[in-house]
Symmetry: C2
């Protein structure tokens, strides 16, 4: 394997380091290396038994790691960024996961200064450890349907938290099962018999000394899962459990204890901002999540040789690396292209988000300085935010689906060995899968995108001037409605982007016709909405990838040859996607039957051949350390078989056991190294 990968690297001159710096910046790479060195030197992070351990052991190790990580942060005075880098490098969900994310964020964003003093300070110090308890056994997506109640008791000025039915049990709550002693609990606020919808309450659930559940609290772990087994997702039921007035997080609404009135204050739009931010990070992470699988499968298929090429000249002896088969290339190389596409898209979303935050803050300051914001400022700020919010929903759905399904394609591309845990793909895939369901189920998010696009289309029809990219492409589509289009998708990359915009716009107005003119029921349009959201999100990815390649930042970072390779990746991603969705493109008039057929039979195949020699260096540019990949198949040095064999024969605990194989004997394990006869039927 070693020589094969070395030869692959010699074949291409893509500058791995420069490309890596373009993706991450030198600063981030160095920081990652520094943190990695610390982690590697700590025995508790040793991964060699990860793939063997059962649920309880894995959770135990994860808890040990979480504790150690916290202590390392203190010891090395890590910034939050460095701490997050460390968690990413360890690559497994841990029992402090929800404490360190949603619990702290919620206290910070939704707490009053007094509440922050009371809870956040202790939480930051791990004196209390929390989680975020929203989902219930009976309700996830439909937050308004939550059944847990928090009833204001005007007598003793407390809230009574109660779970009226079994389905009201909190469920799936990360860090709750065994670890947390506090929870932010979303509950229906009831004041004087009137319900005001779900509100967040900070609730103690376990004793801070004994760590046993408090009275009238029933809490535990929900059991094994498809993945995520290092995390203790939990359940939680309350039996008329009293909490003090301060428990209700009161930044945006509160119950006045004197008047017993429910009061709203300020606007929780900040929370939407956070949601947008979280979704944008999911988009960017999707690129690197997928890149792990692509790195492993690409390296492995460069060293895995199977069969001689039927048409190979007699001089070429020996078997062919399977990466040379076009049927392997068509599975892996478009995914390789997708890793870059998603990365640049996520990055641009996050930039847009921070710019917009700055603008909003500036506006805020201007307002304070009593000059007042000009109308375009307000307008553009919020319109861009609305656009960002909607597009981030669609992109979250698209990108996490691409990553999750792409990982399975990578695993299967590795043939039999892909099925071994040592491939490193399966366990990673299993842990990633919930991303398609949480932060908005991928199917349901598409309704939000469609709703936004319909609204935008209505505005365009009503004659509003375009105020963001979405309304711009819709306007341009409408202006050409009577003359059609002619995109040179195979000759011009900007035309290729325009074809994606055209198809998305076409589907938007089609959906609008169904809803507004034909008055179809919302439910009858869900499948169309799903397609629409996908089309719009694919346009966004293609556009952002293209824009990133045009940017001075990129053009300055790498040489012309490398730019050409990146450009081929862009075209491969775009054209492969276009071909997959051929009938929509054709139906919209964005391209002709002949163009689609040329794409399929000629252009995509030519792009595969162009990219093939650079495949290994392109995955190298993602810069995954072997320690991080924890994969026999994906080793940087290609020593796949040696590593498989070592793990199987040296690390595998099952090989310590000698069984009694005969059905007429009751003995199962005849001998366990270090023990006597052990188990009986």
């Amino acid at each position: 394997g070693h020589e094969l990968l070395a030869a692959e690297r010699a074949k291409s001159n893509v500058p791995v380091e420069k490309l890596q710096e373009l993706l991450f910046t030198k600063k981030v790479i160095d920081q990652k290396q520094k943190v990695l060195d610390v982690l590697k030197s700590e025995k508790v992070f040793d991964k060699s038994q990860n793939y063997f351990a059962g649920r309880t052991e894995r959770f135990e190790t994860a808890l040990a790691r979480a504790k150690r990580l916290r202590n390392l942060k203190l010891k090395h005075n890590w910034t939050l960024d460095e701490f997050r880098t460390a968690s990413e490098l360890i690559s497994e969900p841990g029992p402090y996961g929800l404490h360190e994310s949603m619990f702290l964020i919620t206290l910070n964003e939704q707490g009053t200064p007094e509440q922050r003093d009371e809870f956040l300070v202790k939480a930051n110090d791990y004196k209390i450890i929390g989680c975020y308890a929203q989902t219930e056994l009976g309700h996830g997506s439909n937050v308004r349907g939550l059944e847990t109640t928090a009833t204001w008791d005007s007598q003793d000025k407390t809230f009574i938290i109660h779970s009226p039915h079994l389905t009201a049990s909190k469920w799936w709550i990360g860090s709750l099962g065994r670890t947390a002693n506090y929870a932010v609990v979303m509950a229906q606020l009831i004041v004087d018999g009137k319900s005001h919808g779900p509100h967040p309450f900070v609730v103690q659930i376990r004793d801070l000394k004994t760590h046993e559940p408090l009275e009238n609290v029933h809490v535990g772990d929900i059991g094994p899962k498809f993945g995520y087994n290092t995390m203790d997702n939990g359940f939680l039921l309350f039996n008329k459990y009293k909490v003090p007035h301060i428990s209700m997080l009161a930044r945006f609404s509160r119950v006045n204890p004197d008047t017993n009135q429910y009061v709203r204050q300020g606007s929780p739009s900040l929370i939407y901002g956070t949601l947008t931010w979280v979704r944008s990070t999911i988009v960017m992470q999707a690129g690197s999540v997928l890149a792990r699988g692509v790195t492993i499968a690409t390296r492995y298929s460069a060293i895995r040789r199977q069969f001689q090429d039927r048409d190979a000249p007699a001089s070429e002896v020996g078997e062919t690396p399977v990466l040379n088969y076009t049927m392997v290339q068509i599975r892996l190389l478009p995914l390789l292209a997708a890793t870059f596409a998603l990365h640049f898209t996520g990055k641009s979303m996050m930039n847009l988000y921070s710019e917009n935050q700055k603008k909003m803050n500036a506006k805020h300051e201007n307002a304070n300085s009593s000059r007042g914001a000009g109308p375009e400022e307000t307008q553009s700020g919020s319109d861009i935010l609305a656009d960002l919010h909607a597009t981030s929903c669609g992109l979250k759905a698209l990108s996490s689906t691409i990553a999750a399904e792409g990982l399975e394609v990578c695993r299967r591309a590795c043939g039999g060995h892909g099925y071994s845990s040592f491939s490193g793909i399966g366990p990673w895939y299993s842990d990633y899968l919930p991303t398609t369901t949480w932060e908005g189920d991928n199917y349901m998010l598409t309704q939000q995108v469609a709703r936004y696009l319909l609204k935008s289309a209505r505005a365009v029809i009503a004659g509003s001037a375009p105020s963001n990219d979405t309304t711009a492409i819709l306007t341009s589509f409408r202006s050409r409605a009577s003359i059609g289009c002619a995109f040179d998708i195979l000759g011009s990359s900007s035309d290729l982007v325009a074809a994606f915009a055209w198809r998305a716009s076409f589907l938007t107005f089609e959906a609008l016709k169904h809803r507004d003119e034909q008055g179809k029921a919302w439910n009858d349009l869900l499948v169309d909405f799903y397609r629409l959201s996908k089309a719009h999100s694919q346009y966004m990815v293609v556009k952002n990838f293209y824009t990133a390649l045009q940017s001075p930042e990129t053009r300055g970072a790498v040489d012309q040859n490398t730019l050409a390779v990146l450009h081929s990746l862009f075209r491969l991603y775009a054209l492969h996607t276009l071909e997959q969705e051929g009938s929509e493109f054709y139906a919209s008039g964005a391209c002709s039957k002949h163009q689609i057929s040329l794409t399929r039979t000629t252009t995509v195949m030519a792009l595969l051949a162009e990219i093939r020699p650079h495949a290994i260096r392109l995955v190298d540019a993602w810069g995954f350390d072997d320690w991080v990949l924890d994969s026999s198949l994906g080793r940087y040095d290609g020593k796949v078989y040696e590593d498989m064999f070592y793990r199987a024969s040296e690390l595998n605990p099952l090989n310590r056991i000698t069984v009694d194989p005969y059905p007429d004997s009751d003995v199962l394990f005849r001998r366990v190294e270090g023990e006597g006869v052990r188990s009986k039927l």
Copy 2:
């Protein structure tokens, strides 16, 4: 949940029992019930801890179950069929798996009478326990590339089995890791310096008393996998290991010990027959494998309620079962249709296979009776066998892909709860996945199908009369080449089938043009071949489903209403597939743009609505017992939440542990029910 499922069942009058009998026959259903009753009463088959146990425990339990099963077979005098039924009901791979299948089959088919006396008798008695060791660390698909050698020693008349490199290590061999004491080893036969390719050897690897590996044999378990962890897949290396002459299975070729000559005898075509049979069972199983997931997801989404319908009349209060959302229907109902499509296709393949075997045997007898078979008899027998062999490759690939990917669609359709092991889908999916890789990797099989189709097309061009269904549709396509076609895909079901035949034929002649006229390299055509194989296999499924519905057997089994529902399932399967592959159908001229767009926007949606009320009864007809499904979400009585809660809070061993949650403490598990303080950092 209970009332909801009862109401669902009341809405439809599909006769569940009759339909079930149509699928399986009354005899098989009764037999299954009888076996199930036995299994349920045995403690060792209790499933309640399956989802919690780690690798070693799971293997241990699986061994206990395998032993018990063997003893039950003796006790109840089960037929082979009943024994297989029992294994299926237990639904987990077990350590005797390869002994009971490939080991026995190979001894039987490839052994001489003498060898059967020597090995098969003991194997049938479990005095020796074997496995089938073909795949190596370095070679799987390419069997001819195997590296293990068996060198004939003319001096002492033995074979020397040897693994010259690490990559020669046998790998993935089921039942080998811990259980087997014998193996059928595929090794390159070398006689007098000349290699004769891979041949099977029966080799003892462990001591029959101590069960320790014999000298010069290195054997063990290959470690944890994505699934299949109840099976001990193993590795095996030989260091110049001597075995006697009788070890080489000699039915089809042998080394003459006197002359030291390699001799072939008889034709191993029988083995191809077995391969065809195995692939046909995979097709049929794919239907029921998928049906488990569809049963679980359909029942769950009938009781899972989330949101009120936006357009619902004010009188309809309460939340909507998610199965009412068209976006859930479009994911589940085409898969429900696929379960029936695959079942009927597999059944018809197996019938064709047995009929053909009978014909061949008759021919054989005729030949013996010295009358000689008529030319059509020989012709049709072998041509149908060739067709069956090729189509079984394509169908194996298509059906196992549909089942595997469909299961994941079902899991995700269940939202968050689908991720819990208690859903029962994840574990089942993980165990099923290797079916896409073994018995021919699904991608690679498509090359065999394409090769066969190209050959058939060449024969048709050369003017041969059609001799089977494949050449018949190719001939008919060619005869219309200059006049095209006009299929009423939405109005006529036979036209719909014909459209599938048309597209497959079109792609066949296209591929032939690329290969023969344009002289494209084989490797450059792999993607086209993949598409071609898929198209042809989809045609086969659609045709077989349609034919099954037309058959007197079906028409006599259920009433007109039920036939209409089955017919809707057929149309849904066919039209949904057609729409997914829209651009190929369009490019081939099999249908118009307008037809495809109507399919998408109108017909498929209408079919979903037609089938929706019968969904629960249709899955009920698959007849999975709750004990078999082992799923909280898929319970027949709909008591989903109660069961989830029971398993989480009562059965989950993690809840016996109280942790120390603070990072400044070294203690991890403060208290384990029944133990003292346990673990430290």
